[in-house]
C-alpha cells in the first residue's frame, strides 16, 4: 500500500470512528423538526425533541 492509499484509508477510518463516537455521545439526530441534534432522553432541556 502506497503512502497516498494509507493516508486515505486512515482518514476514512478516523472519520467513521469520529462519527460513531459523536453519535454515541450526543445521540442520533431525528427529523422531528426540532433543532436539537440529539434524541429524546439525551436532551435534558427539550425532553424529547419536539418538546415532549
Amino acid at each position: 500500500m502506497n503512502a497516498a492509499s494509507a493516508t486515505v484509508f486512515a482518514a476514512v477510518l478516523a472519520l467513521a470512528a469520529f462519527a460513531v463516537w459523536r453519535t454515541l455521545k450526543k445521540g442520533a439526530p431525528c427529523e422531528c423538526g426540532c433543532s436539537r441534534k440529539t434524541c429524546p432522553g439525551k436532551c435534558p432541556s427539550c425532553t424529547g425533541c419536539n418538546g415532549r
Binding site: F9, A16, T23, E31, S35, T47, G48
Partner: protein, 794 residues
C-alpha cells in the same frame, strides 16, 4: 439572583413562539395543542438575570392532565417572580378562564393578548384597561408570530417582578356572596400553612375539594369538617356541586367582563369566519377523509411523480450534483446537431456494439438507465462494429459549462493521488456510495417536509387529528392517539414520546405500538427510492404507503382493543382548533430546514460509518482475505446474510443481499437504501437505479412484487433501533417492549408475505406452501379484527 418569569396560557396560544422570540431559542413550535409537555427554560435576550420558563399549554389549573399537573406544580411550588399569561386575542373569552385562576395565585402577572394583528384585521376592539382593572394585572397587546410587543410584555413582567407588585395588592373576587363567604372561612383555616399571597387560590381549590391540595396541606379532621359544612351550605343554596359552582361563576364573571371589554365588528358578528367556512368543507363528515387522502396524494405527487419537481431535483442530485456532474442551465448547446444526452446515448450504443461484436454475439442492446430494462436492441455486423469504433466519448465541457459532481471530484482526486483500487473502492463504493445514495433523496425529503410544515402551520394538521378522532372513536380509539402519529410522520422517536400525554396506560401502550406504523422521514427515503426505481409510472404507490400505515393503525387498534389488556372506553379528546392562517415563510423554512438538516446529519453520523463497516465485511472473508467483487459471495456479509436469508424467502428476497439490507435498516431506516446501493454496485449498471433493478431481478421472477414486498416489510416492521429503545423505555417493562416489537414484526412480515405470495399467484405463479401460509395468516388477521370483543373488553 435571577428573576424567574413563567409563560403560561392555553394550548396553541403562541407560548413557544413568544418563548423563542424572547430567548432566541429554537424550540419546536407545532400548530396543534399539546406541543409542550414539560417546562423549558431560556434566558431573556439582553437580560442575563431573567429566566423565561415556557410551561405546557393548559386550560385550567385543575390536576386532570399531565400538562396541568406540570404547570400547576411549577406555579404553586416554585413560585416564579412574575407570570406572562399569553392569551389568544381571537378567542379571548375562553382563554380568560385560566387567567382568572392565574390571577388568584397572587403572582405579579402581565396578560399578553396575542394575535392582535388578526384581532385588528377582524375589526374587533379589546378594552385592555378594563380587563387589567378587573383581573388586577397589566395587559399588553402582542403578535408573537410577527414579533410585535412580546419584548414589551417581558419587560413589563420584569418591572412587576422587581417591584413584587401583585403580592401586596388584592386578587380579583369573581364569585357570589355565599361562595366568597365560604372561601373567606377556608382562608382563615389555612392561614400559616400556605404562602400568604396565594392563600385565595388554595382556598378556592379546597372549596372545589381538590384532593391533591387537601392532602398536601395536611388539614386536620376538625378543620376539614368545619370547611365541609361551609361548602355544603353553598351547594345547598346554589343547588349545584362545589366544582360546578366555581366553574359557572367564573364563566359568568368572564362573560360580564367581555360584554364590557370586547367589541366585535358588526361584520364579524353576523358572519361565519373564514376558518368556519373552510372547516365546513375540510371537516365535513363525508368529505374530510377524501380531502386528507387527496392532500397526501398531492404531497407525494409533487415529491415522486415522473417529471414532478421532486423527481427532477432528485435526478439532478443523484446524477449531477453528487454523481458525474451537470451543465449549468442556459449554457448548453448542440455539437454537430446533437445535444449532450444524445451524444452519450450514441456513445453507449457504440460501446455496446463493440462489446457484442468482440464477444461474438449477433445482437447488442442498451438498458434504460432508470429501470435497467432493455431499452433498445439491434443487429451487429462488421460495418456497424467499424462505425462504432470511430465514435468518440463525448466531452461534456464541449456542450456547455460543465460543473463536475462530488462523486467525480472524489474519484478524480483519488486517481490523481495514485490511491490503489481497494482503497478507492472503499471511498467510492463504500463511504461515498452509501452516503450519496441517501443524500440523493434530500430533494424528496425536502418536498415532503415542506408540505407537512405548510399543512401544520396553516392549521390543517390539527383538523386531521379531529377528523381521525371521529374515525378512531368508532373503533374504540381516541383522536388523542393520532397526535403522536402526526408527530411520527417526522420521526418515530418523538412519536413514541408523545404518547406520554395519554393518561390511560392501556391507550398509551397501544398508541406506542401503533404510532410508528406511520412512515417516518427516514422511511420516506425507502418509499422515494422504490417509487423512483420500480414504480416510476405509478406515483400513487407512495401515498398508498401512508394510507396502508393508517389502515394498519385502525385495524391493529381494533384487534388490540378486543383483548382484555387494551379494552376500555377511549380517552376523552378535547382540542381547540386553531384559526387557519397563512403560514410565514420563515416558519415553514425553519421547520423544514431543521428536519432536512437532521436527515443530512444522520447521513454523515450514522450512514457513513455503517457503510464503511458494511464495505469491509462485504469485501473480506472471515480469514480477512480480500475477496473483491468477484468473490463477494464468500464475504463475511454474504455468509452472515446467508444464515438468515431463509427468513426472507417467503417474502421474495431470501438472499444475503435482501437480508443484509433489511437487517442494516434497523440502524436507521434509510440505511436500507444505502445498503442496497452498496450490494448492487457489482452489477456495473449505468446508475444505482439500474443496479438495484438488476439485483431484484436475481431475487425473484417477479422483481416488482419482490420490491413491493421489501418496501412493505421495511416500512411496517419495528422502527429503527433508537425508536425501539425509546419504546422499551416508555412501555416501562421489558415484556411490553417485546410485545410491541413482536407485534410490529408480525404485522410487517404477514403484510409483505401476503403481497408477495398472493400477488405472485395472481400473476400466474404456482400455488405453493407459502401461498397457503399467507392466506391462512390473512384469515387469522381478519379473525383478530372481526372477532367479538372479550367479556372484559365489552
Amino acid at each position: 439572583m435571577s428573576i424567574k418569569i413563567a409563560l403560561a396560557g392555553n394550548p396553541n396560544s403562541g407560548k413557544t413562539t413568544l418563548f423563542n422570540a424572547l430567548t432566541g431559542s429554537d424550540q419546536y413550535v407545532g400548530n396543534w395543542p399539546g406541543v409542550t409537555v414539560e417546562k423549558k427554560d431560556g434566558i431573556l435576550q439582553g437580560r442575563k438575570d431573567v429566566v423565561i420558563q415556557d410551561l405546557p399549554g393548559i386550560y385550567s389549573l385543575s390536576p386532570y392532565s399531565l400538562e396541568e399537573k406540570v404547570s400547576r406544580r411549577f406555579l404553586v411550588e416554585e413560585n416564579p417572580d412574575a407570570i406572562i399569561n399569553i392569551v389568544d386575542g381571537t378567542n379571548i373569552e375562553r382563554n380568560l378562564y385560566l387567567s382568572t385562576q392565574l390571577a388568584e395565585l397572587g403572582i405579579p402577572m402581565v396578560m399578553a393578548v396575542n394575535m392582535m394583528d388578526v384581532v385588528r384585521k377582524n375589526g374587533d376592539k379589546i378594552d385592555f384597561a378594563r380587563i387589567a382593572k378587573a383581573l388586577n394585572c397589566e395587559v399588553v397587546g402582542i403578535s408573537a408570530v410577527k414579533n410585535e410587543g412580546g419584548r414589551d410584555a417581558a419587560m413589563k413582567a420584569v418591572e412587576l417582578a422587581e417591584k413584587g407588585a401583585a403580592r401586596k395588592s388584592e386578587v380579583p373576587h369573581v364569585f357570589s356572596g355565599s361562595v366568597e363567604h365560604a372561601i373567606a372561612h377556608i382562608e382563615e383555616s389555612i392561614q400559616g400553612k400556605v404562602r400568604k399571597s396565594a392563600i385565595r387560590w388554595y382556598a378556592i381549590k379546597i372549596f372545589e375539594r381538590d384532593r391533591e391540595i387537601i392532602s398536601d396541606l395536611g388539614i386536620g379532621v376538625g378543620d376539614l369538617k368545619h370547611i365541609e359544612e361551609h361548602i355544603r351550605d353553598c351547594e345547598r343554596e346554589l343547588d349545584d356541586d362545589a366544582e360546578s359552582i366555581i366553574t359557572s361563576q367564573r364563566y359568568e364573571f368572564i362573560k360580564n367582563l367581555m360584554d364590557k371589554s370586547l367589541t366585535k365588528s358588526e361584520k364579524r358578528r353576523n358572519k361565519a369566519t373564514l376558518s368556519d367556512r373552510i372547516d365546513k368543507i375540510v371537516t365535513n363528515r363525508i368529505l374530510a377523509l377524501p380531502i386528507f387522502i387527496l392532500s397526501l396524494c398531492a404531497m407525494w405527487w409533487i415529491a415522486v411523480a415522473e417529471g414532478g419537481p421532486g423527481t427532477v431535483l432528485t435526478d439532478w442530485a443523484n446524477d449531477g450534483f453528487l454523481g458525474d456532474g451537470w451543465h449549468l442551465p442556459f449554457t448548453t448547446h448542440e455539437v454537430d446537431g446533437r445535444d449532450y444526452g444524445t451524444a452519450c446515448e450514441d456513445y453507449a450504443k457504440a460501446e455496446a456494439t463493440i462489446k457484442a461484436w468482440e464477444a461474438g454475439e449477433k445482437t447488442a442492446s442498451v438498458e434504460d438507465e432508470e429501470t435497467g430494462e432493455t431499452a433498445e436492441e439491434w443487429q451487429v455486423d462488421e460495418a456497424a462494429y467499424n462505425a462504432a469504433k470511430a465514435v468518440e466519448e463525448p466531452d461534456p465541457s464541449a456542450y456547455g459549462v460543465w460543473v463536475p459532481g462530488i462523486g467525480a471530484l472524489i474519484g478524480g482526486a483519488l486517481e490523481k493521488m495514485g490511491v490503489n483500487d481497494t482503497v478507492a473502492s472503499l471511498v467510492n463504493d463504500g463511504a461515498w456510495g452509501g452516503v450519496s445514495t441517501v443524500l440523493g433523496f434530500v430533494p424528496v425529503i425536502f418536498v415532503v417536509f415542506l408540505f407537512l410544515s405548510f399543512l401544520e402551520d396553516c392549521g390543517y394538521m390539527a383538523r386531521v387529528a379531529f377528523i381521525m378522532d371521529r374515525l378512531f372513536r368508532k373503533f374504540g380509539l381516541s383522536g388523542k392517539s393520532f397526535i403522536p402519529m402526526i408527530v411520527g410522520k417526522g420521526c418515530g422517536v418523538p412519536a413514541v414520546m408523545a404518547a406520554r400525554t395519554i393518561e390511560n396506560k392501556r391507550d398509551q401502550r397501544m398508541t406506542i405500538i401503533l404510532a410508528t406504523f406511520i412512515p417516518c422521514g427516514a422511511k420516506t427515503v425507502i418509499i422515494a427510492m422504490f417509487a423512483a426505481v420500480f414504480f416510476r409510472e405509478m406515483w400513487y404507490v407512495a401515498p398508498l404507503m401512508d394510507v396502508i400505515g393508517i389502515a394498519i393503525i385502525v385495524l391493529g387498534g381494533i384487534a388490540l382493543k378486543k383483548s382484555s389488556a387494551f379494552a376500555g372506553d377511549p380517552a376523552p379528546f378535547v382540542m381547540e382548533l386553531p384559526a387557519y392562517h397563512m403560514p410565514t415563510l420563515s416558519g415553514i423554512w425553519h421547520h423544514t430546514w431543521n428536519r432536512v438538516k437532521a436527515y443530512m446529519l444522520k447521513a454523515g453520523m450514522i450512514i457513513f460509518p455503517a457503510c464503511v463497516f458494511l464495505w469491509f465485511i462485504m469485501n473480506y472473508d472471515f480469514h480477512f482475505n480480500l475477496v473483491g467483487a468477484d468473490g463477494i459471495d464468500r464475504s463475511m456479509l454474504a455468509t452472515m446474510g446467508g444464515w438468515i436469508a431463509w427468513f426472507f424467502a417467503p417474502l421474495g428476497f431470501g438472499t444475503w443481499q435482501g437480508a443484509a439490507a433489511s437487517v442494516s435498516a434497523e440502524i436507521a431506516k434509510e440505511q436500507a437504501t444505502a445498503t442496497l446501493g452498496l450490494v448492487a454496485a457489482g452489477f456495473d449498471g449505468a446508475t444505482t437505479a439500474s443496479n438495484i433493478t438488476a439485483l431484484f431481478g436475481t431475487f425473484s421472477d417477479y422483481p416488482k412484487l419482490a420490491a413491493m414486498s421489501f418496501m412493505l416489510f421495511n416500512l411496517f416492521i419495528p422502527p429503527c433501533m433508537v425508536a425501539i429503545a425509546v419504546t422499551f423505555r416508555e412501555m416501562g417493562s421489558k415484556a411490553w417492549g417485546w410485545f410491541a416489537v413482536g407485534f410490529q414484526l408480525l404485522v410487517g412480515y404477514v403484510l409483505a408475505m401476503s403481497v408477495y405470495q398472493i400477488g405472485m399467484f395472481c400473476a400466474g405463479g404456482s400455488f405453493g406452501v407459502w401461498t397457503a401460509v399467507a392466506i391462512l395468516a390473512d384469515i387469522a388477521a381478519a379473525w383478530f379484527v372481526l372477532r367479538p370483543a372479550r367479556k372484559e373488553a365489552r
